[in-house]
Symmetry: C2
Subunit: 210 residues, 2 copies
């Protein structure tokens, strides 16, 4: 998350200075509610403020513009996402690599599907702003965690691990994303997970060092 990006979406008033961290959370929660009930195009700062029980003026004290709401939402979400994947990678240190593949794939799909509508709403919101920087930083965190994990596999060492790892993660992120674009959550089922696991394992197996 670079300063350049932050500058446009940066909160006016830092909530840490006062007790108003709660207000910020209330506003963000209200944003999600409005997103879920009316969709991105119908989302109005007035409506969000109303739902949050504050005045529009107050909302604009904490968020410089409407996009800042979307930015904060995605920022929190991506941070949460990266944190959970990091945790899984930690847990799987030293395991056989097939277990690692399985663990990361299923955790990632779980996170995205456990609140399917929220994920959809966040994707919609993300499209209205430039999220490339926060997406990039989330990707980096996961790349580091995942590469560290794979390097510790109990049953294999890999050639070009860094490049393999990046490819696998991009495939995972992208494939899951596709099902949200197609609005076909039912395809994110066990069968797809199984196929991805097979694909990832055979791909890794091919690069195993003797």
């Amino acid at each position: 998350m670079t300063l350049k990006t932050l500058s446009s979406y940066n909160p006016r008033r830092s909530p840490r200075q006062r007790r108003s961290a709660a207000t910020v959370d209330v506003i963000l929660e209200a944003t999600i509610q409005v997103l879920l009930s009316t969709g991105t195009s119908q989302l109005t700062t007035t409506r969000v403020a109303e739902r949050a029980g504050v005045s529009v003026g107050s909302l604009y004290q904490y968020f410089p513009n409407k996009q800042a709401l979307f930015f904060a939402l995605n920022d929190h979400y991506l941070d949460h996402l990266a944190g959970r994947i990091e945790k899984v990678c930690e847990t799987l240190q030293g395991a056989p690599y097939t277990q690692m593949v399985q663990g990361v794939i299923s955790e990632y799909i779980n996170i995205k599907t456990e609140r399917y509508d929220v994920t959809c709403a966040l994707y919609r919101a993300a499209a209205e702003i430039d999220v490339s920087d926060i997406v990039e930083s989330m990707c980096r965190r996961i790349e580091v965690a995942s590469e560290g994990m794979l390097a510790s596999a109990s049953d294999a060492k890999f050639q070009n691990l860094s490049s393999l790892n990046v490819t696998l993660l991009n495939v995972l992120f992208g494939t899951v994303r596709t099902f949200f674009d197609r609005n076909r959550p039912e395809l994110l089922n066990n069968q797809l997970q199984e196929q991805l696991i097979i694909m990832f394992c055979t791909y890794l197996n091919r690069a195993k060092l003797p």
Copy 2:
């Protein structure tokens, strides 16, 4: 593309009735220009009409609302995309399967990157409307073409071809999409194409019938 979806974005006046097919094209071309020069959030129906050299009123004669512009743009684009992939699949009938994999992957990436900024603009525009139906119909066309192609491979028959094919295409669509989200076109390079080809081929190889 279902009737339900069409109803909201359907042109008011069918351009085939009069010489105004040109007007529709001019408006759509103007929409792309405005998207490229000012971005989605700054795009105004007035600005589009201005750029197209028609009045706002005229624009609304052909497009019932702003979203209809985005819908028409994506509809044309996805149709073009599916058409080109179908053609490649046709050309590759009876080839060895590794050539098929290579041909489809590189053509898909070519289409998406040959006008990178337009692709980005279309993704942005797509996020403001419900494109799941036209995306779905594009996916179906490509699935059919690709499955037919793979079934004709000169050097292999596959177990569960239909399921393999769907998985591979979703992975391809998704992986490419990821690089647009991350805004890192330089990663869509030959190395990634190579890795995807390897991954797809080993995945297919594993399912080869004796």
